[in-house]
């Protein structure tokens, strides 16, 4: 018998655990944007070795499964003398991984900005710093917004993998509830629908934000 009661009883705990899912994906996305901007700057640099380094970074973080990256961070950081809490390691890893994808998003968005704008800014004597902070980056963020929202949704789903380093987010919590209640079907389905709800909300918020920013 499918027991809705089990779901209702445990839903508050699952929603409580969603805090960590959101924390990891939102912080990971923010860090991904920051690091991604740096990697993107490297990819667009005139220096060959910077371009190579950026390409290597993107290739590594996109080529190695996140699950393995998480284990690398979890087991290897202590070996080289860095002891950070699992949560910090998880956010950092998710963020570094997201940076690889977001740097490509930013690169595409920057390419979509008409070249004339940078030339015009240079012509009126704008400093490179202002050019980037006032002209290029704001527009790149706007053009890339759908892809960034998409990445955030991917991160919400990817955050389920941090169970392997022992952080009690939705998936880990549902594992322990499932083994305590012997109701895996109900609990895992509830977890799945919780993820679905979070992602639908993010997608909707993204659409609203896009409409708000459109001119």
């Amino acid at each position: 018998m499918f027991s809705f009661q089990t779901i209702f009883d445990n839903l508050p705990v699952l929603i409580g655990a969603a805090r960590y899912t959101l924390l990891i994906s939102v912080l990971g996305c923010a860090q991904g944007l920051l690091v991604g901007a740096v990697v993107c700057a490297g990819a667009l640099s005139r220096r060959v070795w910077l371009r190579r380094a950026a390409a290597l970074y993107v290739s590594f973080f996109r080529g190695v499964p996140l699950l393995i990256q998480l284990l690398v961070a979890f087991y290897l950081l202590p070996v080289i003398g860095i002891n950070v809490p699992a949560l910090v390691a998880a956010v950092l890893t998710v963020g570094l991984c997201a940076a690889a994808y977001l740097s490509e998003v930013l690169r595409g968005a920057l390419n979509a900005i008409p070249r004339g704008q940078a030339e015009a800014a240079a012509a009126i004597g704008m400093a490179p710093r202002d050019l980037w902070l006032r002209i290029l980056l704001p527009q790149a963020l706007k053009i890339g917004l759908p892809a960034i929202i998409n990445e955030l949704i991917l991160l919400v789903k990817a955050s389920s993998l941090v169970t392997v380093v022992g952080i009690v987010e939705i998936t880990r919590m549902s594992q322990s509830i499932a083994s305590a209640t012997y109701r895996p079907l109900e609990i895992y389905l509830a977890a799945a629908f919780l993820y679905l709800a979070i992602n639908l909300v993010i997608a909707q918020a993204g659409r609203l934000l896009e409409r708000r920013l459109a001119y």
Binding site: V64, P65, V72, Y75, S160, A178, P184, L196
Partner: protein, 219 residues
């Protein structure tokens, strides 16, 4: 390290074989299922449109790991008792089908209307139009996205280790827990996967170039 490799080499190799096997089978079956779903959505009865949309949204909106848990641990409660390997392949198939069907949908949408109208004007039957015009043209425009998703699936196969499918990640973790050697196995695994994905990507690009060659030449 050489000792470790000697002792665990065979296990790692079978793990690698298992990774390749689950990936290839999951991708093929996922593509087949996705194709069937897209044909149903496009040419089947209208009342199927809504359930198909719900299926696609559900699969794409939830983590693959949770889907596997539902299937593997929740399945027995509704009489679906599967071993880890079939459950893993079925999970990959279902997961892949939702993404493949969306890629194929975009591909079908990109088939120029004029070609279909021209074929109809020349008296082609509907079946022939679909088989000889729509599907080939659709496949060419969808190929890059299909290859890209097949590459993404290589990385999803490691998640099968969480339901104890003995693929490379699972073997490595077994090795780690038996020997307490963490650094080398994980580094090797990471490097291995990096290479694996790189090789698959190159092959994919070559495949793309072969089938879309004529498009590039003209432009």
């Amino acid at each position: 390290m050489p000792d470790l490799l000697h002792r665990y080499g065979p296990d790692l190799l079978t793990g690698f074989g298992m990774t390749l096997f689950t990936w290839a089978l999951g991708t093929l079956l996922g593509f087949a299922l996705g194709f069937a779903i897209e044909l149903l959505r496009r040419f089947g009865p209208k009342r199927l449109a809504w359930p198909i949309r719900a299926y696609v949204e559900f699969i794409r909106g939830t983590p693959f790991l949770v889907q596997l848990f539902v299937l593997y641990y929740g399945g027995p409660l509704i009489g679906l008792r599967l071993d880890a390997l079939p459950a893993g392949v079925l999970g990959l198939t279902i997961y892949g089908s939702a993404y493949f069907t969306e890629i194929l949908r975009a591909g079908f949408d990109a088939v120029p209307k004029g070609q279909i109208e021209a074929a109809r004007a020349m008296g082609f039957t509907d079946g022939v139009i679909v088989r000889r015009i729509m599907v080939p043209v659709m496949m060419v425009s969808a190929l890059p996205a299909l290859v890209n998703f097949a590459i993404i699936l290589t990385k999803e196969t490691v998640i099968l280790s969480m339901i104890t499918v003995p693929e490379i990640m699972f073997q490595t973790q077994t090795m780690m827990s038996e020997t307490f050697a963490f650094v080398e196995p994980i580094l090797i695994l990471a490097l291995f996967f990096w290479g694996f994905v790189e090789v698959i990507s190159r092959l994919g690009r070559r495949l793309e170039r072969r089938f879309t060659h004529y498009l590039l030449e003209r432009s």
